[in-house]
């Protein structure tokens, strides 16, 4: 979609007084939202503000339906070490994909030189994807999980 097409959509929204519009075509996804300004003091006139593009860019889902990281909070490793999903080999994992977690919930362990670092969630939200297999080495700053903040 080119700029002219977007402008046409914006004009259409203004003339029809549509406040929000979402448009999808292939890999393209566009979301427009229109705000009406409050009456200006003394003028008494209603000013119509052009629609504001609030989201434009890469799709949030790939053509295969897999989620991408664009809209998610990324939990990164704060240290070089080994990633563990559970507190002990036979124990249940701290979290699984699809789980809802609250801020402060332990998500995983990154062990470095016999220091067991429990990584807490900074968000309330849903675990979308766990990117590392259990007992795999991780580097500093390496993404570990995607969380969709609620």
């Amino acid at each position: 979609m080119d700029i002219e097409s977007i402008k046409q959509l914006m004009q259409l929204m203004a003339s029809c007084k549509v406040s929000e519009l979402e448009y999808e075509a292939g890999d393209m996804r566009l979301k427009l939202r229109r705000f009406e300004a409050a009456p200006q003091t003394g003028s008494g006139a209603l000013q119509i503000v052009q629609p504001e593009i609030v989201s434009l860019g890469e799709p949030t889902a790939t053509s295969s339906g897999e989620p991408s990281e664009a809209d998610y909070a990324i939990v990164k490793s704060p240290i070089v070490g080994t990633f563990y999903r559970a507190p002990a080999p036979a124990a249940e994992p701290f979290v699984s994909t699809g789980d809802y977690v609250s801020k402060g919930k332990t998500l995983c362990i990154v062990e470095a030189m016999k220091v067991m670092n429990e990584i807490e969630s900074d968000f309330d939200g849903k675990v979308i994807k766990i990117l590392i297999n259990d007992a795999q080495p991780v580097e500093y700053g390496q993404p570990l999980m995607w969380i969709e903040p609620s």
Partner: protein, 268 residues
């Protein structure tokens, strides 16, 4: 369980000079038996206990080492955890384990007059056998350390408990050594006093003091090492540790390898 409070302020002769940090105020909580002192301390941290809370138990029913490895914890040993809120960066947290190991080694050597060494990263060795260990559990949010629990176990006396030949081959108790083994409480006081000093050094990033002391006590220093790492087995001569606590190995090509994560397979 009963509680007591003590202040151990720079109990060592070799005090850090020019260091201005708040002293570690220690609050001791004594238990007859716990699952593990780290577990009890973790529950206490949920209640926002102050830094310096120390959980001590006569025995542990589920003492553990690295990633839930069992730590044999009969009555007669020394088992305790110090709850800390270190003001250091996450990448320096392995040095906390090294600071704890230095405190244990200093105290055992002073008590027993036996040469005490540290096998990287933090196993305590006397007469070529393991006599103590450290397990640190931390809680981290983003780049912030919420707390660290320094769990310490020292084989003081077995208290009549039998151990397997395999354990006997690898481990030693202070009561096995020639001389009079200290009471666990005596050793506790010595370790806490020494740790207060090492912890202050860590807080002000006096890394050279920590690294130099570790290298002097290192069981692996100058030896040919084989270590299992994520990149496979690496080998080389140990030249010390880095500022982040990584083991440094010089290989046959003269390159220095930095082992941040791995297991020592052999040394000679």
């Amino acid at each position: 369980m009963f509680c007591s409070k003590i202040n151990l302020l720079n109990g060592c002769d070799d005090e850090p000079r020019g260091i201005q940090t708040a002293p570690l105020r220690l609050s001791l909580k004594w238990y007859d038996e716990v699952t593990s002192t780290n577990e009890v301390a973790k529950e206490l941290m949920g209640d926002e206990v102050e830094e310096g809370t120390v959980v001590i138990a006569k025995q542990q029913t589920a003492g553990r080492g690295r990633y839930a490895n069992e730590w044999f914890s009969p009555e007669g040993g020394l088992y305790f955890t110090v709850a800390l809120r270190p003001r250091i960066t996450v990448r320096h947290i392995p040095l906390l384990a090294i600071a704890v190991a230095l405190a244990i080694a200093d105290s055992i050597e002073l008590s027993m007059l036996s040469t005490t060494q540290i096998k990287w990263p933090n196993d305590i060795y006397v007469s070529g056998k393991k006599v103590g260990g450290v397990l640190i559990d931390t809680s981290i949010s983003g780049e912030k350390i919420n707390y660290a629990l320094a769990g310490i176990g020292v084989n003081v006396s077995r208290g009549g408990e039998e151990v397997s030949p395999l354990v006997r081959k690898r481990a030693i108790w202070l009561s096995d050594l020639v001389g009079c083994a200290p009471q666990p409480t005596e050793l506790l006081t010595a370790i806490l006093g020494s740790f207060t000093t090492w912890y202050q050094r860590l807080q002000v990033m006096d890394l050279n003091a920590i690294i130099d002391a570790f290298n002097r006590r290192s069981l692996l220093m100058g030896r040919e090492i084989q270590a299992q790492t994520k990149d496979g087995i690496v080998s080389g001569k140990c030249t010390g540790i880095s500022e982040q606590g990584a083991l440094l190995l010089r290989n046959s090509n003269g390159d220095v390898l930095e082992v941040m994560e791995g297991t020592i397979c052999s040394w000679s």
